[in-house]
Structures are given as structure tokens and as C-alpha cells.
Symmetry: C2
Subunit: 195 residues, 2 copies
């Protein structure tokens, strides 16, 4: 590993430590926690923190971006290289939503102070919206009729909504919904004839 | 109007004034606002406030219950007495979600301090979940195949999710989704054959 790589690795590590420190100190001290306290928790100088994140808002945006990137990585993990039928990206998205997303949402709820802090930052919402748009465009090119795609995307949003509000459905109900969504990707035409 | 009715009317009015005062003072002073300040804003003694709501949490639960009741009233308003086909409750629910819910969500976002305060109260979430369960049961008896009902309910949750996250879809996209949901209630069988 050369010098540049070592420096990059350190930068990634420091960034990681700062995001962890932000989540941890917001949980214990509340959303008004100072950048000094966050830097100290990460074992970094305040100047070091400001080099990576110029404000508390930037740290919160960093947390949400990390969260969205984890979801994207989960979808990629679920992509089946042997699946060449239309709807393959949908199937990976469905599997990530059911098999990975609930744990990520649980983590978020384990730290409600971070959740409420996130809601207070307009840039956080904007990142979530950009992420949502990006997925909608990718899924629109997955070979399913736009109407069928809209049904599946709507239902997937519904699953995220239920997870965020603290899911009350049973394991069997979740299994049914997962199977229904996957079955919806097995055909490509419209779900209903609209006239 | 007799004495009892007059007293009941006053109680409803005081309750209303207290909920409005809670929303207003949380917006200006933050979630930590005292019950004294809320009572003063409502023009009620602290004892009067405690008679209606025993704590700040109870006021926040009161706000969410009022919000859920407004949605229920919107669904009732959209019930068509001449519609005797299966799916009539779904159609009213769809119309309330598209025609009334967005304005209610906008109101919520106009006061983000109340929104974050609501998230911090477990009883608020529990009320929302009970409300959700109640609707799921009512809609399960609306004459549509359980699978079709699950698709429509999932998509409706998805619409609420998009509204809550600050909807980025265009007016035309919303119209398409509304029409698609209504079209889904025109048939009663399963949407997809699952094997």
C-alpha cells in the first residue's frame, strides 16, 4: 500500500469515527450537542472534524447518506447474475427491503434522538428525495410495464412506511407480502386494464 | 340547549383551545415548553388544563388523535351512498388519501417542532398503529380478494410515505396513481396468480 492509499484509508476511518461519535453523542446529550463534544468522542481535534464535516447539519447529512448507501449495497448484493428476465432489479430491491431494511430501521429507532435530529435538517430530506428519484428511474428501465412498476414501487414505499411506523404485521403477513411482490415481477404487462 | 349540553359544548371548546395552544407554543418555544405556558396561551388555568390533559404527552396524543379523526371524517365524506359495488370503502379511502391527506400532511410539516415532539412519544405511535389496524380490518371486509386488498393497501401506505417525506411527484403522476388505485378496485379477484 503506498502513501496515498494509506492517507485515504485514514480519512475513511476518521470519517467513520466522526459519524459514529455524532450518533452516539446525540443519543446521550441530545441534538444540541456541540461539535467539540463530538470531536472529542471521535478522538479527533475540532479542526479535524471541520475538515470532514463543516457543521452539525453536514454530519447529519453524512449519517443519512451512509444509511442510503447501505441500502444500495444491499440491493447490489441481492442482484442475481443468473437472472436475465425482466424485473431483476425489482426482485433485488424487494429482497433488500424485506431482508435488510427492517434491521436498518430498527437501528434508527434505537436512537430516536438522531431520528428527530435528522428530521430537522432540510438537506437530509432532500438527499432522501434524490435517492428515491434515482431508484424510480432505475426501476422504470427494468422491463416491466409502467403501470405494473408503479404498483410494485408503491407497495415497496408502503413497506418502508410500515417499517418506519413500527411494523405491527406478523412474520407470516410479511412473508405473504414479500411473495406477492416477487410474484408481481413474474409478469410484465399491466396489472389492470384502465379504460 | 340545556345546561348539560352547554357544559359539554364548553368542554369541547376548551379542549380545542388547549390543543391549538399546544401546537402554537411548541412551534414558538420548542417541545420543552411548560404546561403553564400552554395553559396561558389557551386562556385556561393550569388546573383546567390538567382536567383535560394530564401531561404534555397526553396533549400530543390528543393532537394525533384529532389528526386521525380528521382523516376518518374525510373517508366518511367520500363514501358514495349510491355505490353498492365491492370496494366502495377502498374508493372512499383512496379519495381521502389523495384529496384530503396532502393538506393535512402539509399542516404537520408547517410545524416541524410538533412533528418531532410527536415522534418522541411512544403512545402517539401506538395510536397510529391501532388506527392502521382498524382500517386494515375494515378494508379486509370490503369485498375484494385479500391479495388485491393487500396490493391497494400497500400502495396507499406508499402514498402516505411519499407525502410524509415531501412528495416530489408531479400533479400528473399523482393523478395517474389515483386513477390506477381506483381502477384496481373495479375488479375483485386476485391481481396475480401465485403458484
Amino acid at each position: 500500500m503506498d502513501m496515498t492509499q494509506a492517507l485515504q484509508r485514514d480519512a475513511v476511518r476518521t470519517r467513520r469515527a466522526l459519524l459514529d461519535a455524532a450518533a452516539k453523542t446525540i443519543a446521550t446529550h441530545g441534538a444540541a450537542v456541540s461539535l467539540e463534544v463530538i470531536a472529542r468522542e471521535a478522538g479527533v481535534s475540532k479542526g479535524g472534524l471541520l475538515h470532514h464535516f463543516r457543521s452539525k447539519e453536514a454530519l447529519l447529512v453524512g449519517l443519512v447518506e451512509e444509511w442510503l448507501a447501505r441500502f444500495d449495497a444491499a440491493v447490489r448484493r441481492h442482484l442475481d447474475p443468473n437472472d436475465h428476465r425482466p424485473g431483476g432489479l425489482f426482485r433485488a430491491h424487494i429482497r433488500a427491503t424485506f431482508d435488510d431494511s427492517p434491521e436498518m430501521v430498527d437501528e434508527l429507532w434505537r436512537n430516536p434522538a438522531v431520528l428527530t435530529a435528522l428530521l430537522g435538517v432540510p438537506d437530509v430530506l432532500q438527499r432522501a428525495q434524490v435517492h428515491d428519484r434515482m431508484w424510480r428511474q432505475a426501476l422504470a428501465d427494468d422491463g416491466l410495464h409502467p403501470q405494473r412498476a408503479a404498483v410494485i414501487m408503491g407497495m415497496l414505499d408502503g413497506c418502508t412506511m410500515s417499517d418506519l411506523l413500527g411494523n405491527t404485521s406478523t412474520k407470516a403477513e410479511r412473508e405473504d407480502t414479500r411473495a406477492l411482490l416477487l410474484a408481481l415481477t413474474d409478469e410484465t404487462g399491466p396489472v389492470v386494464s384502465q379504460g
